[in-house]
Symmetry: C2
Subunit: 130 residues, 2 copies
């Protein structure tokens, strides 16, 4: 059972926008799009983004500074994300691979570090761009 978060107005507006896009969006392009809905400042966008990331509704693509909706609820609240990124067309896809997830979840280094999160980004060329 997943805890159902109640989103605020700003959070809903921004999540809605991100979910309607199948590709990641940049914070300032989100800002531009939501100005008509009364969200006027970067901070309002970043606050909503941070919250949405925290509760796992969206993920940040770190190498691109963009935000994408989580289409399935399988990533344990933003704690384990894997993406493939086409370096030509910038198409991004979230990957859910059971075997890979297992390996990553079970990984132990030799430093006794306790992990609670990981992010993996694969780069290459998608079918269209090869």
């Amino acid at each position: 059972m997943q805890k159902q978060e109640t989103l605020t107005k700003n959070q809903k507006i921004i999540l809605d926008l991100i979910e309607k896009s199948d590709q990641p969006l940049k914070a300032y392009s989100i800002l531009f799009d939501v100005k008509k809905k009364g969200i006027n400042a970067p901070l309002q966008v970043y606050r909503a983004l941070n919250k949405l990331v925290k509760i796992g509704k969206i993920h940040k693509i770190e190498s691109r500074n963009t935000f994408i909706a989580c289409k399935n609820s399988k990533c344990q609240i933003a704690k384990a994300t894997v993406f493939s990124i086409c370096e030509s067309c910038e198409d991004v896809t979230e990957i859910h691979d059971h075997k890979l997830s297992e390996h990553l979840r079970d990984f132990k280094d030799n430093k006794g570090m306790k992990y609670n999160k990981y992010n993996l980004e694969f780069f290459g060329l998608c079918k269209k761009c090869v």
Copy 2:
């Protein structure tokens, strides 16, 4: 046999600084430090950083926007990097795990994408910070 790159003056100055630090450095802190050596502008730093990343002498920690020296020459020229990051003290360590590397290298998605690079970042608490 690895191709021996000849670095320019600026590239050497900046690589030297990064190699002397066991922890990642930010571009503008590098800029501050190399001003005494005649490097005056952000672009001079970013150009050197980009080149050094490209040839695998340093890596970018994407989630932190910082740069760390590659201590061993095992990552195939910046194409396969794994880091552990302490979310408390921000200590960063480059990980080389044979088994993990194999899994990542061999990973195939179901979209026919051709990967040539990946970056994995583990987050957690280091021994000191637990």
